[in-house]
């Protein structure tokens, strides 16, 4: 079964450094998402992306965050200047179509640790 893949599985970064998290969504999916999960807390929506632009973003997704689809397969999340509170699991997801009546398929996440 096709799956969403994320790299790296674990990223350790010094506070203030830039980090790029990478995702390869399922090939025929058109909608892409990033969520995060702080340890012991719930999964939180960050941003959704369609047709090369952001379609929705949360309050968490401030100017330090950006997303990009640099080619036909990759989908990236960049955090420009990391803070300690950015430490979390970051999940990429994709769906065939828009709207919450569609299942979202998640990758296994990147654990981001900010020192």
């Amino acid at each position: 079964e096709p799956e969403v893949t994320q790299t790296p599985s674990h990223q350790v970064t010094q506070m203030g450094q830039e980090v790029i998290l990478r995702c390869v969504p399922i090939s025929n999916h058109l909608y892409f998402y990033w969520y995060r999960q702080i340890l012991g807390q719930k999964v939180e929506f960050l941003v959704s992306f369609y047709n090369n632009e952001i379609s929705e973003k949360s309050e968490i997704f401030d100017d330090q965050f950006s997303v990009e689809r640099p080619d036909g397969s990759n989908f990236t999340l960049k955090i420009r200047s990391t803070k300690l509170e950015d430490s979390a699991m970051y999940f990429c997801a994709s769906s065939v179509r828009e709207h919450s009546n569609q299942p979202q398929h998640f990758g296994d996440g990147t654990r981001l640790s900010i020192l």
Partner: protein, 113 residues
């Protein structure tokens, strides 16, 4: 703002019994409700979706109900197995539409032999 509540306490049941997990929501009437399974260190895995005009949905040993009057969804696993042990997440569509999912904190289920 919309609020989703799932039992924060873990649910321990014996193999072969039916597990029932609860998702309550307030301040909103979702059009769709989804259930996901999450294993430690893994991403959520989609299980079932139910629409507001559906009272019940089944898939193999899984059953979901959606009561828009009580603002509650129940998730049942019949003939539970140790392999069903995981955290189960309820997710709702966002107020105002769109494709964002709002998740509950999840309920950890442990099925014992």
């Amino acid at each position: 703002s919309q609020k989703i509540e799932q039992n924060s306490e873990a649910l321990n049941i014996q193999e072969g019994k039916t597990a029932t997990l609860t998702c309550n929501y307030t301040n909103y009437s979702p059009a769709y409700l989804q259930w996901y399974r999450q294993d430690p260190g893994r991403g959520p895995v989609f299980l079932l979706l139910i629409r507001e005009n559906e009272k019940e949905k089944r898939k193999e040993r899984l059953k979901v109900t959606f009561d828009t009057t009580l603002k509650q969804s129940l998730f049942h696993i019949t003939a539970s197995q140790p392999a069903d042990s995981a955290t189960y997440l309820c997710a709702l569509d966002a107020a105002g539409g769109g494709n964002k999912l709002t998740f509950g904190t999840g309920t950890q289920l442990k099925v014992e032999l």
